[in-house]
């Protein structure tokens, strides 16, 4: 069962410039594991070397942060959309 994952602009360089990728998995954790197996260069942006997910990358299931659901164990279906939301600092100031 494939679920849609939205890739933010700064990470598209690691997904062949795709803004949407489908991956298999019953939970958010499985989905991301499969995604980063396919796109290995993406891995270091989502996970630290010890395998924990990086704190500055937020993962949303539809419009909710998985930190407030069941984290990586949050179940997903084919109807869901998972988004990777990076922190962006730019303001076009300088």
């Amino acid at each position: 069962m494939a679920t849609k994952i939205l890739i933010p602009t700064p990470l598209r360089g690691y997904t062949d410039q795709l803004d949407e990728v489908e991956a298999e998995g019953a939970t958010v954790g499985e989905l991301l594991a499969n995604l980063t197996t396919r796109y290995a260069d993406l891995r270091k942006h989502l996970y630290a070397e010890d395998g924990t997910r990086r704190n500055f990358v937020n993962i949303y299931l539809n419009d909710d942060d998985i930190r407030y659901l069941e984290k990586d164990q949050t179940p997903v279906t084919a109807d869901d959309t998972v988004s990777i939301i990076p922190s962006v600092a730019g303001g076009g100031w300088s």
């Binding site: 700064p10 500055f56 909710d64 988004s83 076009g92 100031w93």
Partner: protein, 387 residues
Amino acid sequence: MTQAGPAALTNEEVGRYSRHLIMPEVGMEGQLKLKAARVLCIGAGGLGSPVALYLTAAGVGTLGIVDFDTVDHSNLQRQIIHGTPDVGRSKLESAKARLNALNPEVEVVTYEMALSSQNALGLFADYDMVVDGTDNFPTRYLVNDACVLTGKPNVYGSISRFEGQATVFAAEDGPCYRCMFPEPPPPGLVPSCAEGGVLGILPGVVGTLQATEAIKLILGVGESLVGRFLLFDALKMRFRELKVRQDPDCPVCGEHPTVTAPIDYDQFCGITPVPAASPTSGSTDTTVEELKTRLDRQDSFLLLDVREQREFEICRIPGSVLIPLGELPARMSELDGHADMIVHCKSGVRSGKAVALLRDAGYTQARNLQGGILAWIDRVDPTLPRY
């Protein structure tokens, strides 16, 4: 923000704000709230331009602006508060002149300084809310923490390329920036300047959203973006909304805060100060003057440009070979036979990373051109275009 304001509007002000006054959502009461309001805008750049222009046009009584930059040609593509004759002028002076011309009723207070852990709390205390138009993580976290600590809403907007984000952080009972993003990305994982750039109109859209939220907070009308994170994609022309929740464990606004005063935000964001020059620090660097001498002498070395193709098309140093930084690891074999190498980018950051990669791969003579092609243009060949 509901403090007692002036009792009435002058006839001139009634004329100026008539389209507000006839709306039930604003009316005389709302316009007087606007007149009594004090808003502090951090940055007079891409986001700050529309924020300051619209808040001034709307009749916000006092508008503070913090900035320390001067207007550059490359700002004019998006920073619409400034004009071509303002290039070289202080952004605050330029902005103030434009705002005074737009609406002399508004008191524009300028702070020509960098916002810092030392001055933020004192500055914020004088205002009802803060609009964040900054462009870097340390200042974003500083604005957030100072807003939480002084109890002022943080009207947040940020932009990158063609995507924007907007919300209201640190409002009463609402989440703060750290609830959503507990930690900044380490500097090495932030997209490099090569992937940067911004569609000029994007800060116009996002800054206008921020100005709208500021006005709504002042008026106390509508549904604010508190707890809602708005994402805007200009290419797809699509808005999305995410929920942001207050984190009970948040170190600044949570139940047991550990951040009770502004901290060292450069350190928090992993930015280490540039080390003082030591006898060995120069060995990986070279200067544009030295490069010029070596080119004139027709020395045998490789001049490697690690910028992007688009930048290479704007300007290049004669004789350079282009391999963008992102492609370098995969194309290292093209460098076989070149021991002596000078590597450059736009300003020296990407080429510094490239030199580290090259040295790790055994190219121990690779050297970084200090200041990049910008230094070359400034000090050797001013006929090339700056970008």
